[in-house]
C-alpha cells in the first residue's frame, strides 16, 4: 500500500510538472499570458520567501529567520554577491540561535 501510494503520488507530481511544459507556445506568445506567467512566478517566489521566513507551515512564527532575512535584504541593497547574501543569512540565524533565540 505504501509503495502504491509512493508511485501514484510521484506519477501525479510528474504529470503536473509535464503539463506546464506542454502548454502550446502560441498561447504563451499572447502578451497577456506571458505577462501573467511572469507575475505568477514573482508571486510564487515572493510568497515562498514570506512563508519560509514567518511561518512554521501552520502558524505565523517570529524567530531568528526574520533578522536573518533583513540582513540578506541589506546585503542585496548593497549589491553583495549571491553567495554572500545566502551565507550572511545563514550565519545570522545560526549565531542568533546559538545565543538562544528560537
Amino acid at each position: 500500500m505504501t509503495w502504491l501510494a509512493i508511485l501514484a503520488a510521484s506519477a501525479v507530481c510528474f504529470a503536473i510538472k509535464l503539463v506546464g511544459h506542454l502548454v502550446p507556445e502560441h498561447w504563451l506568445a499572447e502578451p497577456r499570458v506571458a505577462r501573467t506567467a511572469a507575475l505568477v512566478t514573482v508571486a510564487l517566489l515572493s510568497a515562498l520567501v514570506g512563508v519560509q521566513t514567518l511561518t512554521d507551515g501552520r502558524a505565523l512564527v517570529l524567530d531568528a529567520r526574520l533578522p536573518a532575512l533583513a540582513v540578506a535584504g541589506v546585503a542585496l541593497a548593497l549589491r553583495a554577491p549571491f553567495v554572500v547574501v545566502v551565507a550572511a543569512a545563514a550565519l545570522t540565524a545560526g549565531v542568533l540561535r546559538a545565543l538562544g533565540m528560537p
Partner: protein, 230 residues
Amino acid sequence: MTTDDRRAEVRAAIRQAVSVSVATGLYGVSFGALAVAAGLDLPQTMALSLLMFSGGSQFAFIGVVGTGGAFGAAVATAGLLGVRNGLYGVQVAPLLGARGLRRTVAAQLTIDESTAVGTAHADPQAARAGFWWTGVGVFVLWNAFTVVGALLGDALGDPRRYGLDAAAAAAFLALVWPRLATGPARVVAAVAVVVALAVTPLAPAGIPVLAAAAVAIVLGWRTPAREART
C-alpha cells in the same frame, strides 16, 4: 551585451546554482531522517526523492503517511503541493526550448530552486545554464543527502541550527530581487506575501502559496499591458 558580459552572466548563474544546490541538498538529510521516522524503509524513502523530487510534496506525503493517513489523502496532498511546479513549467519551458526526452527530464527538474535561478537571468544562455545546473545539482545532492539522512537518522541534528532555513528564504529573496524592478511586480510581490501569510493559519500547507499565485493571475490579467511591462 558583449560576449564577455554573457560569459560572466553564465558563470554567475552557475555559481548561484551551486550555492542553491548545496543549501537545498543538505535539507535532504531532514527528509531522509523524517521519512524513516514516519515508518518508510530505505528504498521507499529513496524512491520518493528520485521519483517525486519536490521537497514540499515529499514532506507532506510522509506527514500524511506518518499520521496513518489514507492512500487518497497522501496522493492528493502531494499533488496539491506540486501544483506550483506546473505553473513554473509554463514560465521555464519557453526559456529552455527543450523537446522529447530532454523536455521530460526538464519537467522532472522543474522545482522552486531551478525556476528561481533560471528566471533570475535575462540572458537566455544564462537562464538555461541556471535552470539545468540548479536542477541537476539539487537532484544529485538532494538524493545523496536523503540516503545519508535515512541511514544516520537525526544524528547530524536539526539543519535549523546551522541557519539553513534562513539561507533558503534568503536565496529565494535574492533570486526574486532582480524581478522586482517594476512597479506592478513589486505590488504583486507585496500582495503575494500578505495573502500567503494571511492564509497560512487557515489552510493546509501549500495552499497559501497557491492563493498568492491566484492573486497574481487576477492582477496580471487585469492590468493594462502598458503599465505591466516586466
